[in-house]
Symmetry: C2
Subunit: 114 residues, 2 copies
């Protein structure tokens, strides 16, 4: 079983100690990502004027929006895979047909050579 | 240009009016998703005992974790696509080679028939 890790991360200017089964490196990457989303929001001067619960909500919505975009990209990639699988199936079929024709042409040649 | 939409969403038991270029349906889906993450956290009775900033942080971390998993799935799917593209390239090559052999076998046969 994986060992529990303690990682110190700074998120939104506050230091937190996170404890979990994820690697410290992963937790630092996630923290860095969340900080980048906070920075994006802070870039809009109107953001600081919003009530604190609205600021938390907007941060959640922004991260969730990235998640939904990634999920939609997953669906797109999966349909490309399905399409390529169909193409592979068709072309394998064509190859087998060509190989059978070749084999039969080879046999005919042998027959006429005999 | 897309119209701005106002959508009323309930997140964490509070009603918010969100204004943006996303469709109302999309905003409701995102709200439902965030609520499901809040429910997951609330299922642990220890969660309610945490300070409010820690609760916000854990919600952010959980959503960001889903995002990172989706991104990692994207990379996995992309490498499947790359592999299938290579397979397609190889098999197309094989097919062209077989078709050329067939063509040449056909010409030889015509030559010997003549």
């Amino acid at each position: 079983m994986a060992e529990k890790t303690d990682a110190q991360v700074v998120i939104g200017g506050k230091t937190y100690t996170l404890s979990g089964y994820e690697s410290e490196e992963y937790l630092l990457r996630v923290a860095e990502y969340i900080n980048s989303k906070i920075d994006e929001l802070n870039a809009d001067s109107e953001f600081a004027k919003l009530p604190v619960d609205m600021r938390h909500l907007l941060l959640n919505l922004n991260i969730a929006d990235d998640y939904f975009k990634a999920i939609s990209k997953n669906e797109e990639l999966q349909s490309i895979i399905d399409k390529k699988e169909n193409d592979l199936y068709d072309i394998k079929h064509e190859l087998v047909a060509a190989q059978m024709k070749l084999q039969s042409a080879g046999k005919k040649k042998k027959g006429s050579d005999a």
